[in-house]
Symmetry: C2
Subunit: 101 residues, 2 copies
């Protein structure tokens, strides 16, 4: 079974980036005990003020899908929605490199 990756670019509504980052970091905390989530890293952009990026690696695509059914994830999405102007997410297949499990 191959790993599953995701790069997601969130555009926050003006002034809401830091509040959105906090929700995404709480979502990441909830994933600490979710073994098949290998990586869920929240970044601010050095060039775009209202933007956040999340880079993810999961043990397999099913683990990512399963995470969307967690109560914590669903609650985070509900709280985040009003702060988000747009999301572009790209599903990926991690093929190798440094830092993969």
């Amino acid at each position: 079974m191959s790993k599953f990756g995701m790069v997601a670019k969130f555009t926050a509504k003006p002034g809401q980036r830091d509040a959105l980052a906090e929700i995404l970091l709480e979502a990441a905390d909830a994933l600490q005990s979710f073994e098949n989530c290998e990586m869920y890293i929240v970044h601010t952009s050095e060039t775009e003020a209202d933007t956040l990026w999340v880079t993810e690696v999961w043990s397999n695509p099913e683990a990512h899908k399963a995470s969307l059914s967690l109560e914590e994830t669903k609650a985070a999405i509900q709280r985040a929605m009003p702060l988000i102007a747009g999301v572009e997410s790209t599903p990926l297949k991690p093929v190798g490199g440094k830092g993969l499990h």
Copy 2:
């Protein structure tokens, strides 16, 4: 000193994606011993045939800059250039989440 991140989207010339992936994976191998490179992961896209994504985390921005002066990096860039139709890279600041050192 805060960490430094990067998301880079490479568009390969038609038919060159796998050759380009091989070069990027060799570059990642050369970074295995480069302590301040925490993550350099190569992904194929599930949705775009000619595309590769690299997600990176460095201990600090200087480490990323220093890597560009490594002989292995310079050689890899030289070999990769003819295979690349375009690159969009976004400098990031990793702020937290799961899987950061």
